[in-house]
């Protein structure tokens, strides 16, 4: 056959694949951590605020949830670029993915805060706790434990959605594999490997979430 345009998959590619895997984990962890912190703050504000603030915050979160992530990513990175401040794909991707995560996390935490009975707060206050002490020692620990399975569900979907950051040029696992596919022309092998990686992360964690949920419902 002579010289071939394509070179098959080899062990030399393992470093390249590993970089893709690490980048996927990296951006997912960043988005989950920042999204959780922001979501906790926003969820708390929403559970404490009056109608007006809730409507304003709610419509902002609505936009994040009702516009496809891929459009948000393209729009944000193009706009920042056109304004003359191009961002590194990792930074741009982290910002959007974190905000997107926050939009879902805030709903989770809001319902967590609301699940703590008011009487508990009153009891805590009557024991001499300050407002922030009731937040710190009563509402966060009790409310957050109740929504752990939902939190895990959102976190898992963030890991899966992080694949979309490839569209603005971040070298995560799926983009890595895309490049390997165009070089090796072995789409099936490579894609199955990629799928297996996501599955091995997501499946055990989803089982754990179900286990916790079952334990809590008893």
């Amino acid at each position: 056959m002579g010289m071939s345009l394509f070179t098959p998959l080899s062990w030399n590619d393992s470093g390249f694949i590993l970089t893709g895997i690490l980048n996927t984990i990296y951006i997912s962890v960043v988005a989950i951590v920042i999204g959780t912190i922001l979501g906790l703050i926003v969820g708390f504000i929403r559970s404490e605020s009056n109608k007006l603030i809730n409507i304003i915050l709610g419509s902002f979160l609505d936009i994040l949830r009702s516009v496809p992530l891929i459009i948000q990513l393209i729009l944000f990175s193009t706009y920042i670029g056109a304004m003359g401040h191009p961002l590194d794909p990792f930074v741009a991707g982290s910002i959007i993915l974190s905000l997107y995560t926050m939009a879902f996390m805030s709903e989770v935490f809001r319902s967590g805060f609301q699940s703590v009975p008011n009487s508990m707060q009153i009891a805590a206050r009557s024991l001499g706790m300050t407002y922030w002490q009731t937040v710190r020692y009563i509402r966060i620990p009790i409310g957050m434990r109740a929504v752990f399975p939902s939190w895990l569900g959102v976190a898992l979907s963030v890991i899966k959605d992080s694949a979309l950051v490839s569209v603005i040029g971040y070298m995560e696992l799926l983009r890595t594999s895309e490049q390997l596919i165009s070089r090796t022309q072995q789409p099936l092998t490579i894609l199955l490997g990629v799928g297996l990686f996501y599955f091995m992360i997501s499946y055990p964690l989803s089982l754990y979430g179900k286990h916790v949920e079952r334990k809590m419902s008893i």
Binding site: D62, I63, S66, V67, P68, L69, I70, I71, Q72, I74, L75, T78, Y79, A82, M83, G84, L156, K160, D161, A163, L164, S166, V167, L174, E178, I181, P187, L188, L191, L192, V194, G195, Y198, F199, S202, Y203, S206
Partner: protein, 223 residues
């Protein structure tokens, strides 16, 4: 350059194509939802059946669809199936990936909804002289429907949003059409802003109508 000058004329001229794209988005989401529901019923029945083989097949489908990214599934359908000599068009690739995921998620929704209804209701209805068909038609399914209604709405919205991944395989739904139009005119920001607004309107419209419908059909029910 520190400020961006917006040019909306090209976008306004391209409105018919964008609306056509939005129609394709709705089209693929509705179809994938309908086919997904049918398969999900079968998967849920298989998962609850006593047959080990059915259990395993349904379990594999459900777990793969829930634990891998939608983008991976679309790539599998578009690039991966080529290894078996199956070459799907972009539309069919996105459609089948959405069906695969919808079926997997809805199967668990249906199973959960079904199992949430106490078995005693079945025996109670039987003891009142109802036939099997009557038990399901008048007792079990109406309650189940109420439980699965909102998860189904969410799944439909998810399908609309995820069909936007068609942009990556050159499908001509709203995102793909936007991508094509902006590559001709270079008005990237304008086109994607309009697309974002259109997605927002579509999802809001679906959610609000679903809520109105649920208020009508579940009127007087204790949820």
């Amino acid at each position: 350059m520190d400020s961006y000058e917006f040019h909306w004329n090209v976008v306004i001229d391209a409105m018919p194509q964008l609306l056509q794209g939005a129609f394709t988005t709705l089209h693929v989401s509705v179809l994938s939802m309908l086919v997904g529901i049918i398969i999900a019923v079968l998967l849920a029945l298989a998962k609850m059946s006593n047959s080990k083989i059915f259990n395993i097949i349904a379990g594999i489908w459900i777990e793969i669809s829930r634990n891998t990214p939608a983008l991976f599934q679309i790539y599998m359908a578009y690039f991966g199936l080529g290894a078996f000599g199956i070459h799907l068009s972009p539309y069919l690739a996105v459609f089948s990936a959405l069906v695969f995921v919808n079926a997997g998620y809805l199967a668990e929704t249906f199973r959960g909804g079904f199992q949430s209804i106490p078995k005693t209701q079945y025996s109670a209805s039987k003891s009142l002289g109802m036939t099997n068909f009557q038990v399901y038609r008048y007792v079990i399914l109406p309650q189940m429907f109420r439980k699965i209604y909102h998860p189904m709405t969410n799944q439909f919205v998810w399908s609309i949003l995820m069909s936007s991944l068609g942009i990556l395989v050159g499908m001509n739904e709203l995102s793909g059409e936007t991508q094509r139009l902006q590559s001709i005119s270079f008005r990237t920001i304008e086109f994607f802003m309009v697309a974002a607004v259109m997605y927002f309107i579509i999802t809001k419209f679906v959610l609000i109508s679903a809520n109105l419908i649920s208020k009508r059909i579940f009127k007087g029910d204790v949820l």
